[in-house]
């Protein structure tokens, strides 16, 4: 019997407007006039007050997992702190928070006063906020959307950041709740750094998150490519373990600047595990130079506007 076959063009899911903007997947696609008003009625104003004391908010995204978003975030924070800026870092990964490990504040816990959460102090006075400082090592978070959103709200509105020059926000892999929530709660985001590895697999996912940012009207500072050429420590042979070129290709496709390639470097991974950012520990490395140049560029961009 012949089957009537049709190509699946889209999954048909039912979405009516129930007026609950913060729970709505179509938030960025929506052009209803009520949208902005509805959002203001919620607890956004507390978030806005806390964020207004921070001059520049920058997020590191990638879409794809394991490309080095957190490495880039902690090193951006460290590089800025090394030149005297007041920096805070917000780890938006609830399932697998890595920021505390990479900044050497694992196990230090986070404090709480009547006025709010007190960020943990990291190297060079960097203020660290992360679920990793709250959850015990052997506790699993299996949160769905609403709890994540509530946690994000807590971490933005009820943390005593104080006056800061920069807040670096590390967003986990994916293009859903975690990314969307933070963009909704910080409408005046200075911009995003998109991290990708050189492979096409990574590029394809990074492309999706870049599209999302553009839909949400978050400025994209540029694309930073990580895990580039590996140099054998014994014989100095350079090799591309992971193909090449995705960073440049993505930047061209999305018409944003290409910020450079951080090479695949044993020392970089070691720094992550040991909790000392590579810009500090190995300031003369190629990795540090690329990262520092990125910071130069970012500072040029944010202090303009």
């Amino acid at each position: 019997m012949p089957e009537v076959e049709q190509e699946i063009l889209n999954i048909n899911v039912h979405i009516d407007c129930d007026g609950k903007c913060e729970g709505c997947e179509k938030y960025f696609g929506c052009s209803l006039a009520q949208k902005d008003q509805m959002l203001l009625r919620r607890r956004m104003d507390k978030a806005e007050r806390a964020m207004s004391r921070i001059k520049h908010k920058i997020i590191t995204v990638g879409g794809k997992g394991g490309v080095g978003k957190t490495q880039v975030a902690v090193n951006l924070a460290m590089a800025l702190a090394m030149r005297g800026r007041r920096v805070a870092i917000l780890d938006q990964s609830f399932d697998g928070p890595c920021v505390p490990i990479m900044l050497g504040v694992e196990g230090k816990g986070i404090g709480y006063t009547e006025e709010g959460l007190v960020p943990t102090e990291g190297p060079l006075g960097i203020k660290v906020v992360s679920m990793g400082l709250i959850l015990p090592e052997d506790e699993v978070v299996t949160w769905f959307h609403n709890m994540k959103r509530n946690a994000t709200e807590e971490m933005i509105s009820h943390v005593l950041y104080g006056e800061q020059d920069y807040l670096i926000i590390d967003v986990p892999a994916g293009t859903s709740s975690d990314t969307v929530n933070i963009i909704q709660y910080i409408p005046d985001m200075s911009g995003a750094v998109v991290v990708t590895t050189p492979s096409m697999v990574s590029q394809a996912v990074a492309y999706k998150v870049t599209i999302l940012l553009q839909q949400a009207k978050v400025p994209v500072f540029g694309v930073l490519e990580n895990m580039g050429t590996f140099t054998c420590p014994q014989c100095n042979e350079g090799i591309d373990i992971m193909q090449s070129g995705a960073g440049k290709r993505l930047a061209e496709k999305c018409k944003v600047p290409f910020l450079g390639t951080i090479p695949f470097d044993v020392q970089v991974a070691d720094c992550g595990d040991d909790g000392i950012p590579f810009v500090y520990r190995h300031p003369d490395s190629e990795a540090a130079k690329v990262l520092t140049a990125t910071v130069d560029y970012l500072e040029g961009q944010v202090w303009k506007g």
């Binding site: 179509k26 394991g66 490309v67 399932d95 492979s199 839909q215």
Partner: protein
């Protein structure tokens, strides 16, 4: 700043959770001891899922917690390795945001078809049947789904796909994290043969993989073992093996939880290349160290789920 602040350490986030009997939406599903739990759950649309899944011999989930350690790469190549032994395989790419399996299996651009009896999977090499969001969404489409839509999509992918009656294995590739997508799979397939945890050698990856492992244990899912991917790189020029990403995270994790350590897969440019062009390396380069590692893992998995007897492995 004022004088002494009264600081208390935060031991947990206080979020309100009353039971509204919506088990399929409950983050505390695995911790819940209420006897009502499973009864309520069966009343929902699990029946159809159970029927479809019952026709598949073995269901195995591949998880990591940490992103970018190689779950999809391992899933694609493990599937291919098993198919090279004449097993009938299905792959469910359960990463909705960053669906990579279609590219890795060389079926990017093909589309899923809706037949009379359900969704018809796309077929890759060696008859491997593939279901993935990447076979529906266009390249520039972004998925910003929250929990409900994901759960519904999972249900569709489990209940309404024509996997057929002859699949020996369904490998389920999970995204990074321990949230909706991982939990939904474990809820909807209570007879999962087990979960494979993929990690890389770094401590950072191990710390996150630990949470994924704990999640599986909490859910009562058997952990079939831990694979350490990206383990070492042999320079083609001088032959020296450099542990680019440190060493040992995978084996340590397996020991800590007393689960099998399934093996190490080395870094190899051919692996990344094959993922990009869609030709699984176990098929293109079966003699490479990376492929041999995957074949060995396939052996162990087959033995664990009861498909292969111990003697056959010893003979190799």
């Amino acid at each position: 700043m004022q004088g002494e602040e009264e600081r208390r350490g935060i031991v947990a986030l206080n979020v309100e959770l009353s039971c509204d009997f919506m088990c399929e939406n409950c983050e505390r599903f695995f911790k819940c001891k209420s006897p009502e739990k499973l009864k309520i759950f069966d009343r929902r649309r699990m029946g159809r899922v159970r029927q479809t899944m019952a026709r598949i011999k073995h269901k195995i989930a591949v998880c990591a917690g940490k992103g970018g350690v190689g779950k999809s790469m391992v899933t694609a190549n493990l599937a291919t390795a098993l198919a090279m032994r004449d097993k009938k395989i299905g792959i469910l790419d359960h990463d909705f945001d960053g669906s990579c399996i279609p590219r890795m299996m060389g079926v990017l651009g093909k589309k899923l078809i809706m037949g009379r009896k359900g969704i018809i999977p796309v077929e890759g090499i060696l008859g491997i049947k593939i279901i993935a969001m990447g076979l529906i969404l266009a390249e520039e489409d972004t998925n910003t789904w929250y929990h409900e839509l994901r759960r519904n999509a999972t249900e569709e992918f489990l209940a309404h796909v024509q996997y057929g009656d002859d699949r020996d294995y369904l490998l389920i590739d999970l995204p990074p994290g321990t949230s909706s997508d991982a939990v939904n799979i474990m809820q909807y397939i209570p007879d999962l043969d087990g979960m494979i945890i993929v990690t890389n050698p770094t401590r950072v990856s191990q710390v996150v993989a630990k949470r994924a492992l704990l999640m599986a244990l909490e859910a009562g899912v058997t952990v079939l073992g831990v694979i350490e991917n990206m383990s070492g790189y042999i320079c083609p020029k001088c032959g020296v093996n450099t542990n680019v990403l440190k060493k040992g995270g995978g084996e340590t994790l397996a020991k800590e939880f007393d689960v099998p350590f399934l093996g190490r897969i080395p870094l190899d440019p051919a692996v990344s290349y094959s993922s990009d062009v869609g030709k699984p390396y176990v098929y293109e380069h079966p003699e490479s160290p990376a492929s041999k590692a995957v074949f060995l893992i396939a052996d162990q998995i087959e033995e664990m789920v009861g498909e292969k007897i111990q003697e056959e492995i010893c003979q190799k």
